[in-house]
């Protein structure tokens, strides 16, 4: 079980309010991702849940029981740190065994769990090494192993993949997702990488300056961003946000069109422009289009290989039903 409820949780460091009163419910078995720009309070929120920071005000409940004043160990949560935080002088085996040893678990049960975790995480051959003798990905797996053996009510991850290279990141991303499917345990995952958020999450929580901007499934956020911040933050490349006369035509202060929702043509369309940078990835082609008569440079995504290059003139047409409209406060008009 791992249902976590935050009720008006507030955090101040001195006079600075990092998390204004915040309500959030995380259901049992959910994979929740906190995203947001650097410094928005993602780590702080996670550490509040973990118990590593004291809340200034409000209440945290885990499975319905008040946990606000419980020490971290009593909350039944396991955390994987960005720096892995392995114990450098202990072997991998001892690292994984540590939480069980602290809990006074019988030796044979410890052994069984270590073996299971090692098998699940491909660590069997490394059990007697020290963390210093492992690669980044292996260390990450040890950190996860140390969390798994406790059979926690929920896992907390703080940017666990940010120290890994791109290829390994994709691999570990899949492994963590698979682990979640297998264990079916609540996971809370902090990242500022929106691709990780989109691919892994059941539910994304978008944070800005400690405030929750929107909560929803990845596709909900993609389809119906509640405001311009979420619109710009979710989706890659970023949504084109257009202000001024063009927005007025749609009775809005700002309109947003995703790069993949703009049709490109060499002969006709709503906006005429000139291609600046063209990024040919093979599977996709991204164009940055200038001189459209709009103040903003537009980003366009064309599927597959498209034979247009720097300096070419193109015509662009936004798909009418995919235009998002926002009012003067940046809120969505539906």
């Amino acid at each position: 079980m791992g249902r976590i409820t935050l009720d008006k949780v507030t955090k101040k460091f001195g006079d600075v309010e990092v998390i204004p009163p915040l309500d959030l419910t995380i259901n049992d078995g959910e994979f929740v991702v906190f995203v947001g720009p650097s410094g928005c309070g993602k780590s702080t929120l996670l550490r509040l849940i973990a118990g590593l920071e004291d809340v200034t005000d409000g209440e945290i409940r885990i499975d319905g029981k008040p946990a606000t004043d419980l020490p971290p160990a009593k909350r039944g949560l396991a955390m994987v740190f960005q720096s892995y935080a392995l114990y450098p002088h202990m072997s991998v085996r001892k690292n994984i065994a540590f939480p069980m040893k602290m809990a006074g678990m019988p030796e044979d049960e410890q052994k069984r769990r270590i073996e299971n975790a090692a098998r699940a995480l491909n660590l069997t051959d490394y059990l007697d090494r020290r963390p210093g003798q492992l690669s980044g990905g292996q260390r990450q797996r040890v950190a996860i192993g140390r969390a798994i053996v406790r059979e926690p009510a929920a896992f907390l991850f703080d940017e666990p993949l940010s120290n890994l290279d791109a290829a390994l990141r994709v691999g570990m991303r899949m492994e963590i997702s698979e682990l979640h499917k297998k264990l079916d345990t609540t996971m809370i995952y902090v990242t500022h990488d929106q691709v990780e958020a989109m691919t892994m999450a059941d539910k994304i929580v978008v944070l800005r300056a400690g405030n929750i901007e929107q909560v929803g499934s990845p596709l909900e956020l993609y389809r119906n961003p509640r405001n311009t911040f979420v619109a710009g933050f979710i989706g890659s490349p970023k949504m084109n946000l257009i202000e001024g006369a063009e927005a007025k035509k749609h009775d809005a202060a700002t309109i947003g069109v995703r790069p993949e929702h703009i049709d490109v043509s060499a002969s006709e369309g709503a906006w005429k422009g000139r291609i600046g940078v063209a990024e040919h990835l093979g599977s996709d082609t991204f164009f940055h289009v200038h001189d459209t008569g709009l103040a903003e440079t537009l980003t366009i995504r064309a599927g597959g290989e498209v034979d247009l290059h720097h300096g070419d003139t193109v015509f662009l047409t936004p798909q009418a039903d995919k235009i998002h409209r926002f009012d003067g406060q940046g809120l969505r008009i539906s």
Binding site: P72, F81, M102
Partner: protein, 290 residues
């Protein structure tokens, strides 16, 4: 780039320094060994002659020798235990966010700047003196007989004085080591359910092992040759109760004017130092490997 080349160049470059150091070490060592094989007493000038290992035998057969040997080891061991244990506790204390941290840290380091002779005299006259010392005053205040530290527990008193001098050094090194401990490791241990005591035992202490090793090795070198503190407090007495090897060599060569005997003692001290060094490196040297 050819490392072979740069390596031999490096060797040539550092050779003058190495040779100088070697001469610096070899000449006194050779002279000491040479003197130790002579009958050489300043009270009988002109009678120097080769006597083989007689000086060593006399030094060894001296009843004070074994006491001095034991005292040396007790002094080193005692001070090491006090400074390492005390240093760890103080370092942990100083690592806490307390009010006036900067001043407290300077106060803790201060004893290190006091000359050994001065600090020993201060301890002897102002604290341990059975008539006018502070400790005597305390005893009298609670109605006890004042304790004459330097007469009844001379070695322990000297261990106390020397520990007081070396505690800052140990504290300082251990404090920097504690401050380099990754806070996420502590938090991970906290989440893993480790009590403060287990966190100290399983995380802090292993993290400190290298610093502790450095403290032990460096202090041992200096503690084997403690001299000033003994000279100004007990003069090695009562009897030989607080005589260590260094003091015995001094007593031999400068109180008895016996250069040959003193030199033999010096060589014995060198051998003891090496035995201790080998023993230490065996025991804790592996902590220094990364």
């Amino acid at each position: 780039m050819a490392t072979q080349h740069s390596r031999s160049a490096a060797r040539i470059m550092i050779s003058p320094a190495v040779l100088l150091l070697l001469a610096w070490m070899i000449v006194p060592l050779a002279l000491t060994i040479y003197f130790s094989l002579l009958r050489y007493n300043l009270l009988m000038p002109g009678t120097e002659r080769f006597v083989g290992f007689l000086n060593y035998r006399l030094f060894y057969e001296n009843p004070a020798f074994w006491t001095a040997m034991l005292n040396t080891l007790l002094l080193v061991g005692g001070v090491l235990i006090v400074t390492v244990v005390g240093g760890i506790l103080l370092a942990i204390l100083l690592d806490q966010p307390i009010w006036g941290q900067g001043i407290v840290r300077i106060l803790v380091i201060a004893p290190f700047f006091v000359m050994p002779t001065v600090s020993a005299l201060v301890w002897k006259n102002m604290f341990m003196n059975p008539v006018s010392g502070l400790f005597a005053e305390f005893s009298k205040a609670v109605g006890l007989q004042p304790f004459d530290f330097l007469t009844h527990a001379p070695l322990a008193s000297i261990i106390g004085i020397v520990s007081w001098q070396w505690l800052p050094f140990a504290t300082l090194i251990l404090l920097t080591a504690i401050q380099s401990l990754d806070s996420e490791q502590m938090e991970a241990a906290e989440m893993d359910g480790a009590s403060p005591l287990s966190r100290f035992w399983y995380i802090t202490l292993p993290h400190l092992s290298r610093a502790i090793t450095v403290v032990i090795l460096i202090q041992t070198i200096f503690l084997l040759s403690v001299f000033a503190e003994i000279l100004v407090t007990t003069n090695g007495g009562p009897g030989v109760a607080s005589t260590n090897l260094t003091y015995l060599v001094y007593a031999r060569s400068l109180l008895n004017f016996d250069v040959g005997g003193g030199s033999a003692g010096g060589v014995v001290a060198i051998i003891l130092a090496n035995i201790v060094a080998i023993f230490l490196m065996r025991m804790i040297g592996k902590n220094l490997d990364a």
